[in-house]
């Protein structure tokens, strides 16, 4: 993949330049300013120069990640970019080779595992299951980090678990065992467990990967609402439209490195999408929701090789132009 154009890391320094070139309207959230104002306070999650490799393959290469308290940070990037590895490093699941992670200002290495679980909950990408546990029993497990060794769940824990199941709309299958649930249902049950854990920081690894469109919206809306109430969330999200719509900040990873980061409008440019994902895209404002929208037009490889000039123009395309461009692009490939 060395044929890539120069890396876009340290996106902030490039951002103004891109903005002037970019004709489309800017993101309305205005988060970058807010985020900058908070810089001096302690971040909820602060990873610095994280590196991790397995069998000489560098999965993370000096990755920085900062999530302010009460912020929803989206991790985007192609398969194998290191999103899952980054989430696993922050959540103490794997021990990274170099770098440091601070949770609410405390060094992750120095925190006892139990205490980490009180601060932070992880919703795994593939929800595992064990024969026989019911959905409710699994959600109750979220209470373990808060209980003493000789304690069992009390009425209060039941109430917390029930509330988490109501929020994720999983109460209708509370008494069903995990192996009888579909992948999407199980994924929501695991989110319910993470909520029952009452963490300060919620890490989600592609929380919507198995969900239907309705539940994708509902779950991300739920996370958004929780964040607005003060939770900090970091989520790996594949769907760029969803990421743009729900996250305060996006961090774009590729090949184990941060390529760019910032407000969704700054990160998700047609140019960046083409360089990092290899997809020719149009970025515009969706009239119905007012959110940033990304239309994926075609794999960019052919276009990039044959007509490098075209990349410059796609960056400033509007949605209507994109439709026209689509036929142009396909005929070009033929």
């Amino acid at each position: 993949m060395s044929k890539h154009p120069p890396s876009l890391s340290n996106g902030n320094s490039h951002a103004p330049e891109r903005r002037t070139r970019d004709a489309r309207p800017q993101d309305a959230r205005g988060v970058p300013l807010q985020a900058q104002a908070k810089r001096h306070r302690t971040a909820a999650v602060e990873a610095q120069a994280l590196s991790f490799s397995v069998n000489a393959k560098q999965l993370l290469d000096r990755v920085d990640l900062r999530a302010e308290s009460g912020q929803f940070v989206g991790l985007i990037g192609p398969n194998g970019a290191g999103k899952t590895t980054l989430l696993r490093s922050i959540s103490n699941v794997l021990s990274y080779d170099e770098g440091s992670v601070r949770l609410l200002g405390e060094d992750l290495d120095k925190l006892p595992a139990r205490q980490v679980a009180e601060i932070l909950a992880l919703v795994p990408q593939i929800a595992p299951y064990t024969q026989g546990f019911t959905a409710f029993e699994l959600v109750l497990m979220g209470r373990y980090p808060h209980m003493g060794r000789f304690q069992v769940e009390g009425k209060e824990d039941d109430a917390i678990a029930e509330r988490a199941m109501r929020l994720t709309e999983t109460e209708s299958f509370a008494t069903r065992t995990l192996e009888t649930l579909s992948g999407g249902e199980r994924q929501r049950v695991f989110l319910a467990r993470a909520i029952a854990q009452q963490p300060r920081v919620l890490l989600l690894d592609e929380p919507t990967s198995n969900l239907d469109v309705l539940h994708q919206l509902k779950i991300l809306k739920l996370v958004r609402d929780l964040v607005d109430e003060g939770l900090t969330a970091v989520a790996a999200i594949h769907d760029l439209n969803m990421a743009a719509r729900f996250c305060d900040r996006l961090v774009l990873l590729a090949e184990g490195e941060v390529r760019t980061e910032g407000a969704p409008g700054d990160v998700l440019t047609a140019e960046t999408i083409e360089t990092v994902f290899g997809v020719e895209a149009a970025v515009y404002r969706e009239p119905a929701t007012g959110a940033l929208a990304i239309s994926l037009i075609a794999p960019a490889e052919a276009a990039a090789v044959e007509a490098p000039v075209r990349r410059e123009t796609t960056a400033s395309r509007s949605g209507e132009q994109a439709v026209a461009a689509r036929s142009e692009a396909t005929s070009g490939i033929r």
Binding site: V93, P128, Q131, T134, R149, T180
Partner: protein
């Protein structure tokens, strides 16, 4: 796989963990006492249960009506230690089975899976074949225990080689070392010239509780009780481990340390049981399995109740074994396999139908 659809929970499954635990424990404790009492009264010398009760009460300082000295001797020196050893063994096999099934995330795992039974057998066979067993009384259980622990260490060592421990390797190493130790035992049996020793070996391999004394209680029971308490304390962590290492880790479990402690405690309990009773089949497989069907997979319930149910099962089986063909005795290990295996197959067939009807 095995226990599948629980559509609309029934019975114990609807209850909270604490209720499941207390009610289950109350029932099983009562059962332990009843079965023990009945077992104490049965045998070549018939002792009425009222006398049994008096004898026990008098030994803890109560004023009771007269009873025969011989009756007291039979109970104190023969039947009671045998029952206590049986209860300890049942307890050990029950908790170790539940733990192994949880650790391997597989209801087919049994306490012998990491080589403990085969190692114990080899230790015992060596003690008998070399004549050490005849030299002093505790040689046989000590050899068996050492063999069991050595085998467990070997299996664990193979699985942990290169620093990356894996449960799959542990399972495979267990299978391989079980086969290897079994081959050595067979070889010793074949080349052994002494018929008396041969008979003794076969007798031991079948597993039994005959002529167990308070000495046996003293060497096995403290180890078994300590391991059981340890497993009980870690049962919540085992619940999380059943969801996978990553899950457990993200929920605050120190996976490596927890797993090795669980394995060690289960191996210790099983090793102690094997040392005093030989290999008693099927208890560790069947007991946790049945309880899981009734009570659900929560190890905080499963582990303590497997201990009690295991005790009930072994005392009961031993009572039948020693009374069914009086004056001769059947070995308890033969009986548990004889009853356990068909029952287990029945269970498999029943649950298979459930899977297909889904």
């Amino acid at each position: 796989m095995l226990y599948t659809s629980v559509s609309g929970l029934r019975g114990f499954r609807q209850m909270r963990v604490s209720a499941r635990l207390t009610i289950g424990a109350a029932i099983l404790l009562a059962l332990v006492l009843v079965v023990a009492l009945v077992s104490l009264s049965l045998g070549p010398v018939d002792i009425p249960t009222s006398h049994v009760a008096w004898i026990i009460l008098s030994s803890i300082g109560f004023d009771v009506p007269e009873f025969a000295r011989t009756e007291q001797l039979v109970i104190d020196q023969i039947r009671l230690p045998r029952i206590v050893v049986g209860a300890s063994v049942g307890m050990a096999l029950g908790v170790a089975g539940a733990t192994m099934q949880g650790l391997f995330r597989n209801p087919m795992a049994d306490p012998g899976i990491i080589g403990v039974s085969a190692g114990g057998a080899l230790g015992a066979v060596i003690a008998i074949a070399t004549g050490t067993a005849a030299l002093f009384f505790l040689a046989l259980p000590v050899f068996a225990f050492v063999g069991a622990m050595a085998a467990a260490f070997l299996v664990y060592g193979v699985a942990a080689v290169g620093g990356r421990f894996s449960m799959a390797t542990l399972l495979l190493a267990g299978v391989a070392i079980n086969a290897f130790l079994g081959a050595i035992v067979s070889a010793i049996i074949i080349v052994l010239p002494d018929n008396e020793a041969l008979r003794e070996i076969l007798f031991w391999l079948a597993g039994g509780l005959d002529s167990r004394s308070w000495e046996h209680v003293r060497i096995a029971t403290p180890l078994i009780v300590a391991s059981t308490v340890l497993l009980l304390l870690m049962s919540r962590d085992l619940n999380l481990l059943m969801l996978g290492d990553d899950e457990a880790r993200s929920m605050g479990v120190r996976v490596g340390a927890t797993r090795i402690t669980l394995l060690a405690a289960a191996a210790l309990a099983t090793g102690a049981a094997v040392a005093v009773s030989g290999t008693i089949a099927f208890v560790g497989l069947v007991i946790p399995h049945i309880l899981r069907l009734v009570l659900g997979p929560d190890n905080r319930v499963l582990i303590p109740l497997s201990a009690l149910a295991g005790a009930v099962f072994v005392i009961l089986a031993d009572t039948v074994a020693r009374t069914i063909i009086e004056p001769a005795e059947l070995r308890v290990g033969i009986l548990t396999a004889f009853v356990g295996a068909p029952f287990f197959i029945l269970l498999l067939i029943k649950n298979k139908r459930q899977v297909y009807s889904l």
